[in-house]
């Protein structure tokens, strides 16, 4: 059985208590995209400044639980300075890590196939792997990322406002 320590790794609590890139950016030139977790009420704003195809600045607003907040904070540090394509790559890897496998859905305990840290090359984000054992919290962990996904589409479309 998964214990609390699988979920609340130290680095997660650190990002929760000291969120990185918290705040707003001026829109325009930045874009703002809003995401909701309709189940629990968490909401998040992702401000994105893309300069010459590179994510030059990210800011995170909104309210949420430790998992959604820390995941968004970690996301912001993971993508800033990256090109849109590189950011998409991290996004894809992260979502893969979060996807529950069939046996996890049906069995008593949802255990991902490979939970050795570092297996995916996601760095600090690996700490969120434990969330998979708490399927209800996966939506918390992915909230910021799904919002980033939309934000990237918006930025690419070149539309300066939402």
């Amino acid at each position: 059985m998964a214990g609390l320590e699988d979920l609340y790794r130290e680095i997660i609590l650190d990002h929760y208590r000291n969120p990185r890139n918290r705040g707003e950016l001026e829109v325009p030139p930045a874009t703002m995209t809003e995401g909701f977790n309709p189940l629990c009420g968490d909401e998040i704003q992702v401000y994105l400044q893309v300069t010459d195809g590179t994510i030059s600045e990210v800011r995170i607003g909104g309210q949420g639980c430790s998992i959604s907040q820390s995941s968004a904070s970690m996301m912001s540090t993971a993508v800033v300075g990256k090109s849109i394509d590189e950011a998409r790559d991290v996004l894809r890897q992260f979502k893969e890590m979060m996807s529950i496998h069939e046996h996890g859905l049906e069995g008593d305990d949802a255990a991902p196939a490979d939970d050795r840290p570092g297996a995916s090359g996601l760095g600090d984000l690996e700490a969120l792997r434990g969330v998979v054992k708490f399927p209800v919290r996966i939506k918390c962990a992915t909230l910021g990322w799904n919002t980033l996904d939309q934000a990237l589409v918006l930025s690419e479309a070149g539309s300066p406002t939402e």
Partner: protein
């Protein structure tokens, strides 16, 4: 399964006596006689495994779903989602997200009529039905017709209670929706769904299949049908009452507005309005029939265990036995509405739904006398009054066979019929 080309399925391979023993109700007596349940067309009996699954759900993980972070709520949520995945696979649906839970097939069809229908159909548009339809696939369209001026048109049936498709092309003119049953609950007729879907799609129409009477009895492949919407109901396929589903093509569902409004179907709500959730949640307002979803999942497991090919084969054999036995024993005294044989032109054209007309004994009286023998058959219009009119009767006595029935049940029916004849002749 394409009924037009596959012909008679291979012989079934399960032990009916052993199977029967798993259904508590089938062990009962009525009026001092062992029950002979021949009304599965109305609702099927439930195996112990289905009852156990629901009891276990209530005893171990009962909690409201999609909203709680605690352990049992998580388990309950997973139970619902794994049932959705199982049902999707059972129906041959490409994705579990295309499966919407409802309370019964009736609600499924109403969902389409309200959400898709009121968005896509305007005055003068034609909804094409067949004379085989159950009221569940008639009244929602008549309501729309009355409200919107939509035209309802009908594919006729021939003298064997099968669709008469001679004028199909003409009938399809102007049609926006074809809504057709995959299996008649009166005559047992199995319309050629793929052929109808192809013809409807050729004129740009959308196709809704009422599969309430098909899914319990035959392997289902909504993709093979090339249907757009398929309505199913749990209680006719070993599942509990209170649960049904709508399968719909993703693109269609995605473009549809919500039907029932309430909890869970929203993305956000403010005092100014709401944003709907994604599918399938968008169409699942309020607390779902959770235990019923779990029970339905167990029912699907039982059907999977038997194999739907084997179920179909068993029923096919049993229906042939019934047709033969009744013809041998009663000759012209007994008429059976619907296709004369199980197989025609190399295709299975009827299921084990036998609508009987016995001498001049009224169906209601017939069913009453049969009941004294423990034989349960339904008397009435079977929610298909337009078809009754075509058949020239107000009611029929309907015996409908299912996987737990065997030759002894058919023999008991024949014996009871003989007795009813004596009673009303006296």
């Amino acid at each position: 399964m394409d009924t037009e080309v596959s012909g008679k399925p291979p012989v079934g391979t399960f032990d009916v006596a052993a199977l029967k023993a798993e259904f508590p109700l089938l062990q009962r007596e009525v009026h001092g006689r062992p029950i002979v349940y021949l009304d599965s067309g109305a609702t099927s009996q439930k195996p112990q495994a289905v009852l156990d699954a629901m009891d276990r759900y209530y005893a171990e993980i009962n909690a409201n779903v999609h909203r709680g972070a605690y352990h049992i709520a998580e388990r309950a949520t997973m139970a619902v989602e794994s049932a959705r995945a199982s049902l999707a696979r059972f129906l041959g649906a490409p994705s579990a997200e295309e499966v919407v839970f409802t309370k019964n097939a009736t609600e499924s069809i109403n969902l389409v009529a309200h959400s898709w229908g009121r968005t896509n159909l305007a005055e003068g548009d034609v909804v094409l039905l067949t004379m085989l339809e159950h009221h569940a696939n008639i009244v929602p369209w008549q309501q729309l017709a009355a409200e919107r001026g939509v035209e309802v048109r009908w594919i006729p049936v021939d003298d064997q209670g099968r669709l008469d498709l001679a004028n199909l092309d003409a009938l399809l003119h102007g049609v926006r929706l074809l809504a057709v049953t995959a299996a008649s609950n009166v005559t047992g007729a199995l319309p050629p769904i793929r052929r109808l879907a192809d013809a409807a799609h050729a004129v740009g129409a959308t196709v809704l299949v009422d599969a309430s009477q098909w899914v319990p009895h035959q392997p289902t492949d909504v993709t093979g049908w090339d249907a757009d919407f398929v309505a199913v109901t749990g209680h006719k396929m070993l599942g509990p009452t209170g649960i049904g589903a709508l399968w719909g093509r993703r693109e269609l569902l995605d473009a549809m507005p919500p039907f029932l409004g309430g909890g869970s179907m929203i993305q956000n709500v403010t005092v100014d309005g709401f944003t709907p959730a994604e599918v399938p949640t968008r169409f699942e307002a309020g607390t779902q029939p959770i235990a019923e979803i779990v029970g339905w999942h167990a029912a699907i497991d039982v059907l999977d265990g038997l194999g739907m090919e084997a179920v179909a084969a068993h029923e096919c054999d049993l229906t042939e036995y019934a047709l033969r036995t009744l013809a041998d024993r009663f000759g012209d005294d007994l008429a059976i509405h619907g296709p004369a044989g199980v197989v025609a032109d190399g295709a299975v054209v009827r299921g084990g739904t036998l609508s009987l007309a016995y001498r001049d004994v009224h169906p209601h009286d017939l069913s009453q006398v049969l009941d004294q023998h423990g034989v349960c058959v339904r008397a009435g219009h079977h929610c298909a009054k337009p078809l009754m009119k075509v058949l020239g009767v107000n009611a029929t006595a309907r015996a409908s066979l299912y996987l737990y029935n065997d030759e002894s049940d058919v023999d008991a029916l024949a014996d009871a019929l003989a007795d009813a004849g004596d009673f009303f002749a006296s």
